[in-house]
Symmetry: C2
Subunit: 136 residues, 2 copies
Amino acid sequence: AQSMRETARAPRVRELMNTKAVSITEDEKIKTAARKLLKGETNHLPVLDRNGMLVGIVTTFDVSKAVVHDGKNNLVRDIMTKNVIKTHPEEPVDIAAQKLERNNISALPVVDKENRVVGILSAIDLGKLFGGRWQR
Amino acid sequence: AQSMRETARAPRVRELMNTKAVSITEDEKIKTAARKLLKGETNHLPVLDRNGMLVGIVTTFDVSKAVVHDGKNNLVRDIMTKNVIKTHPEEPVDIAAQKLERNNISALPVVDKENRVVGILSAIDLGKLFGGRWQR
Ligand SMILES: C[S@@+](CC[C@H](N)C(=O)[O-])C[C@H]1O[C@@H](n2cnc3c(N)ncnc32)[C@H](O)[C@@H]1O
């Protein structure tokens, strides 16, 4: 594991991200989103348009919101967050970590230059940087 | 074996945890849990028994699960996770980070010796450790 106290080059998002991100399209049902979230054991689904471009994100938080306002919304498009905060594979992980913390969110979709999803970086993945770092 | 090497002491959970954790009791409704999750802008609610002891955790993930199996469950007790993975204020943060990562969970209730909740540590909070760590 790399030490965080080295002044060496920061690890990149590419080194920690999960490349098996499950996604959904904006015209699918909320219940389909809930099923995919459970099946993927994840809190976050990037939402794609018909051309495969990232247009939103839907989380278990948004599904819970639909429970509170029940019946009123039906499609992923109605509950997704459209202003997605994202990262790219070459971004240093400390910059990505700041985005998570400042926005109180727990994952960032990782996109390429064409705005296609190539992975997801979750706050949990940051834990990988702590292995054997400090003395006991 | 003990090393003579002088390295810094790991930060403790106390230094990063959020002390304003909202909680819920096990006999409340799932919808009440959903409302509290939204209001607290959080994914995690520690569940307490009538004596204020930690007996479970309920997350937006569990509420989403209730959406998939709709109507069958009604109370927090029916959907909460009973085997709670937790931490305490004096635990080194790297140990807490490992618990998050190995169990693929994004927060840990912080309890005192009487199993009372004194805070919550989320994976997002780990981002606070990355400030200005690497050279640009
Ligand atoms: C403000 S957070 C609060 C919950 C919690 N802090 C968490 O772990 O995500 C929940 C909201 O953030 C949104 N969200 C999550 N990840 C996002 C991202 N990368 N960009 C924009 N919004 C995001 C979700 O759609 C949801 O409406």
